[in-house]
Amino acid sequence: MGHTLAEKVWRSHVVRQAEGEPDLLYIDLHLVHEVTSPQAFEGLKVAGRTVRRPDLTLATEDHNTPTTPGPVLDVISRTQLEALTANCAEFGIVHHRRGRLGQGIVHVIGPELGLTQPGMTIVCGDSHTSTHGAFGALALGIGTSEVEHVLATQTLPLKPFKTMAINITGELAAGASAKDIILAVINRIGTGGGQGYVLEYRGEAIRALSMEGRMTICNMSIEAGARAGMIAPDETTFDYVKGRAHAPTGEDWDAAVAAWRELRTDDDAVFDEEITIDVSTLAPYVTWGTNPGQSVTLDDVVPDPAVLGDDDARGNAERALEYMDLTPGTRMRDIGVDAVFLGSCTNGRIEDLRLAADVLRGRRIADNLRMLVVPGSQAVLEQAEAEGLDEVFTAAGAEWRLAGCSMCLGMNPDQLAPHERCASTSNRNFEGRQGARSRTHLVSPAVAAATAVTGHLASPSDLSPLPDRTPVEV
């Protein structure tokens, strides 16, 4: 019997296997940021250990860096950032600091620097590490003691996983995006549906996506409870990696591509679970609740908890609607928002910014609405500025910020006020995620931009065409 993509990557990284013990896997790349690393480094020092492979470790600051220029005022944030700087200096780890090319959200810079490559094992003390699976890497989020373990040994003992094929068929409907695909997947399998699984996204609609779109999808695998998400590498992947700072060159490149071509699930491999979603008529998805599975299409209404599944789902929905201050039957398009956040490791890449800028070009955001545009990395920021996107955003009335996680988790000053409602391109709509008692609707970049213009949830097709432009395609 053949092997799945995930099994192939796993098998090529086994350092040691023993009956009754977890497999010990080698880790090709360890990404480190300021929040989950300080105790791991301290643990190393207390035990008199060192970092085994600083050359396979990369650090950056992202979670609580301010997105406005100037010093870090928050004491805790500053302490964490200073600790990371000191630890990297002590252990010889490359560290991309704020404002320098190379800095950004860990899951944006790995691919950008060409460090994320097919067939690798990648870990980071952050759950959205699954993003890197878009390249056919096995990428896992880990806890602080595991961070320490990888620092000390460059390996990780791992329990076996199950595999689930997610077949995305049909040609993606116009107006829908990768974000809508993954929101639909989570809606279908639920926030616990992926537990214990590595998800492999397959099918023509996935093949047609850019790397940015694939990253958006793999990024949110964790929101379905999965260990990781993966997509088999192909020409799109190789084209993306080629020529980047850490990409192989010359003979190494040829050897790498030859090996990468083998990284696909064998025809006779068997998945533990398989689901299929046809996206040829997919409409934009938006969440109405307080977990990423609580969503409907933009054309729909706020659901009535009474008709939802079992008691548990009903109770959750009732609590969620109360928190979100929504009434069943309300048209999603009638929900007004106070803020729009465009950014995060889900949708903070150049393609996302271009898409939103296309919608905003020549338009103004609604009065009394605040829009934050936060590039995922310094490189995205510089690229966007070179293309003049920053001017499009500021001309529309949005705020153009420095790279970081920003309002995705509100660890820095970018937070919503209590009861404020936000259309956000990030990945978590948990209670209080973007600020105490704040309310989050997860949306795609296109919906975020259109929502900013109208002041209520909307898609670009809802906007009246601009006089000097060809009408928006629907």
Binding site: S145, A152, S210
Partner: protein, 212 residues
């Protein structure tokens, strides 16, 4: 990590079920960068109440926590284990533990002894009736002894073996240093190593999909 064989210490009866990790250590303690000093965060909200069990003199030297079902559910924070250990606990006894908490405990060297609920109930009563009484937890024998009560407990075999030998995850892995070195020698040459290089302006590919 110190080997764990048999431990005798003051039992603390915490008669609550569903104690999630946010109650074990509230979120604001997580912002620290140190690995020590978390004992003051343990059950911080409950300890504000002077009558809370840990504020009672008899339990000051407590090292075996006996509690209701579903201890350690909720967020995966490893600080919950650190807080318990740094406060002085070596063992937690419950009829059911949160999965991730139990995993984190095993790694950190805190023994989570799973005892049947009727036995937990007997032990709780015994401790409540004789404050400051000690409990003996025998890992090789898998028994808990409190006064006349002798109750069996369950623990994952692999975790038990590691606790008995005082092996934390890292020291265990470092026993296989040779295997790691051998694997490293076999890694393909094209695998990347991290340099400070960032590339100049990163060429970012254009979308394969027309903008809406």
């Amino acid at each position: 990590m110190d080997p764990f064989t048999t431990h005798t210490g003051v039992g603390v009866p915490l008669r609550r079920s569903n104690v999630d990790t946010d109650q074990i250590i509230p979120a604001h303690f997580l912002k620290r960068v140190s690995r020590t000093g978390f004992e003051d965060g343990l059950f911080a909200r409950w300890r504000e109440d002077p009558s809370f069990i840990l504020n009672q003199e008899a339990y000051a030297a407590g090292s075996v926590l006996v509690t209701g079902p579903d201890f350690g559910t909720g967020s995966s924070r490893e600080h919950a284990v650190w807080a318990l250990q740094q406060y002085g606990f070596r063992v937690v006894i419950s009829s059911r533990f949160g999965d991730i908490f139990r995993g984190n405990s095993g790694k950190g060297g805190l023994l989570t002894a799973q005892v049947a609920q009727p036995d937990v109930e007997l032990i709780l009563k015994y401790l409540e009736n004789s404050p400051g009484a000690t409990i003996t937890v025998d890992l090789p024998g898998r028994t808990v002894t409190a006064g006349d009560i002798v109750a069996p407990f369950q623990v994952d075999d692999y975790v038990a073996w590691r606790l008995l030998n005082g092996l934390d995850d890292i020291s265990l892995t470092l026993q296989h240093e040779d295997a790691i070195t051998a694997y490293e020698a076999s890694r393909p040459a094209y695998k990347p190593v991290v340099t400070a290089e960032t590339g100049r302006r990163t060429p970012i590919q254009v979308s394969t999909k027309p903008a809406p």
